[in-house]
């Protein structure tokens, strides 16, 4: 299927730093794409390039097959939800949501219907006459979302959507966003530095570092088949031998029977459902995650053990 939004060989320079370096990617219809990376990796700049707040030095941005590279933000059929939500403090919730529709010159009756619909989608109808400062953080986020979806954009750009929420609200909101997105059928581009959030929300994750794409794939593929040590370290825990051999802690089996790599248990961390063993081998302290299922053997500190793993669990990664 033709992509809704595609970025082709885009670069953006700020002074001497190359914030985005020859990046190409595309977002399919009804897809959720996450841009993941540490702060300063260029993910937010990339999002702002898509929204039109920055002009690229090279490359092109296509939205629904139309070249939008030089178009100002107000002419682009995508909407952005800001990290700060940027709700207009002098307007009520209702006026905030209606703002974009007013700019489109929608007649008042249609506008009212669309505002109601958008507020209903985020369950905020009851708060229509309130001002933003009378809302909680979670409620503000919903209004910001409603303000975007009222415009029925071709794609929704979300800049760190959970950054302003506390942890338990964050997890709930991630799932709610997923459900809402499926229902509305809008493509999402989510910028985040949190790999859990990216894995929860995204169909595909683009891992970025220093303005470049390290790897772009499904969450599962990124976890199971990381292309580099940097990507592997970004998702979960991994044992990296000096040779570049990489094995996830949960794929390693411990055994008392000889075979595989020999080592000594130096420490263990008991976590209820799992135990992490630290095993000293001749060249590395290996972390082994063992689940407490059925009659899984328990090991003691100082015990001599043998490590083994299936062939498909081991990968050789360049740095």
């Amino acid at each position: 299927m033709a992509p809704i939004l595609s970025v082709e060989g885009i670069s953006k320079r700020f002074g001497v730093t190359l914030a985005v370096d020859n990046v190409s990617l595309s977002v399919g219809p009804n897809e959720c794409l996450a841009l993941l990376g540490p702060s300063g990796c260029g993910k937010t700049t990339l999002l702002r390039l898509m929204a039109g707040f920055e002009t690229p030095d090279a490359g092109a941005i296509m939205i629904d097959g139309v070249d939008m590279t030089r178009k100002p933000p107000y002419a682009r059929p995508v909407n952005m939800m800001f990290q700060s939500y940027a709700l207009f403090p002098h307007m009520t919730v209702e006026d905030n949501v209606a703002f974009g529709l007013k700019q489109d010159g929608l007649p008042a009756a249609d506008r009212l219907a669309r505002v109601k619909e958008a507020l209903a989608a985020v369950e905020m109808e009851a708060f229509a006459p309130r001002k933003p400062h009378q809302l909680s953080g979670g409620q503000r986020q919903r209004v910001a979302l409603a303000r975007c979806i009222a415009k029925r954009p071709k794609a929704l750009l979300l800049d760190e959507p959970m950054a302003a929420l506390d942890k338990h609200l964050r997890e709930r909101t991630q799932l709610e966003l997923l459900v809402l997105r499926r229902r509305l059928g809008i493509s999402f581009v989510v910028v985040t530095h949190d790999q859990d959030e990216a894995m929860t929300m995204a169909d595909r994750i683009v891992v970025m570092e220093s303005g470049k794409i390290l790897q772009a794939d499904t969450p599962r593929a990124l976890y199971e088949r990381p292309g580099s040590q940097a990507v592997a370290r970004f998702f979960g825990d991994i044992n990296l031998w000096p040779s570049g051999l990489a094995v996830r802690p949960e794929r390693i089996a411990l055994s008392r029977a000889p075979g595989g790599v020999e080592g000594t248990v130096t420490d263990m961390i008991y976590r209820g459902t799992t135990t992490t063993y630290l095993v000293q081998t001749h060249d590395l302290v290996v972390r082994v995650l063992s689940a407490h299922a059925g009659d899984a053997p328990q090991f003691q500190k100082g015990e001599k053990v043998f490590l083994s793993w299936p062939d498909d669990a081991a990968r050789t990664l360049c740095p």
Partner: protein, 260 residues
């Protein structure tokens, strides 16, 4: 304790003279420095004085119009400084804008006088010095104050609001009108009030730029004091102090108020 005493002394030093003036405005005696009893007769005489009333009218008109002009120009300048990035000549622009704040008023006044005289001789059909030149002179002085206030407000305001408005489909003019303007409104009102008060109180620049038919209130006060202080002037001073004080309090509250 010592700090309190020093503070009290400082406040007394600054405000006691004003309180003395205000007190003596209710003096029954014609002699300014001899208290003989309470009276409000000087206020009645003040309002019956046509020359003072005419000057008051001119002062208020000049203050109102020049503050309004200064607010529009100062807003544009302050917004440009805060939002247009490092444009060519920004440093020079910022420096020139701040010049009236540090320039001795006598020099500003003299420069403006020379300008007006030159303009008059180059274009004889222009009206002579009067309310118009006063408004131009005061607006050029006070717009610097407005620009500083607006710049601080805009610089302290996240770009997110304006970007969100643009993202939602608002063209630049609509962004300014519906989002920027309401958000900087408190700064504009504060700037206008400050400009109004500065214009109302100005003696030096007004002396240079006014014409024979446009004597302002401070000019009347100054010239009549030279002939001997009349208790009427105390009454006028009391009113001016209260007006100025009230406006500065409002301006201060507005510029301090955070947008919620």
């Amino acid at each position: 304790m010592t700090a309190r005493v020093i503070l009290g002394f400082g406040l007394a030093f600054l405000y006691l003279p004003l309180l003395v003036v205000m007190g003596y405005s209710f003096n029954a005696s014609r002699l300014v420095t001899v208290w003989t009893g309470f009276s409000t007769q000087w206020y009645f005489e003040l309002f019956a004085d046509r020359q003072i009333m005419r000057a008051a009218g001119i002062s208020f008109i000049v203050a109102f119009v020049s503050a309004s002009v200064a607010t529009v120009l100062g807003m544009a300048a302050g917004y440009a400084l805060a939002r247009f990035g490092p444009f060519r000549g920004r440093a020079i622009f910022a420096g020139l804008l701040a010049m009236p704040l540090v320039m001795p008023e006598v020099i500003t006044g003299l420069a403006l006088l020379l300008l007006f005289v030159a303009a008059q001789s180059a274009m004889p059909w222009l009206p002579g010095r009067g309310v118009g030149t006063l408004i131009i002179a005061h607006a050029s002085l006070t717009m610097a104050y407005v620009a500083v206030i607006v710049q601080a407000r805009v610089a302290g305001m996240a770009r997110d609001y304006e970007e969100a408005a643009a993202d939602l489909g608002a063209k630049p003019a609509a962004v300014f009108l519906y989002v920027t303007l309401p958000l900087i409104a408190p700064a504009l009102v504060a700037g206008w009030l400050l400009a109004f008060v500065l214009s109302l109180d100005d003696l030096v620049i007004a002396s240079f730029t006014s014409g024979p038919q446009s004597t302002t209130l401070p000019m009347v006060v100054f010239s009549s004091v030279r002939l001997g202080v009349s208790p009427k002037i105390n009454a006028l001073a009391t009113i001016l102090i209260l007006v100025t004080f009230a406006m500065l309090v409002v301006a201060g509250l507005l510029s301090r108020r955070r947008s919620k």
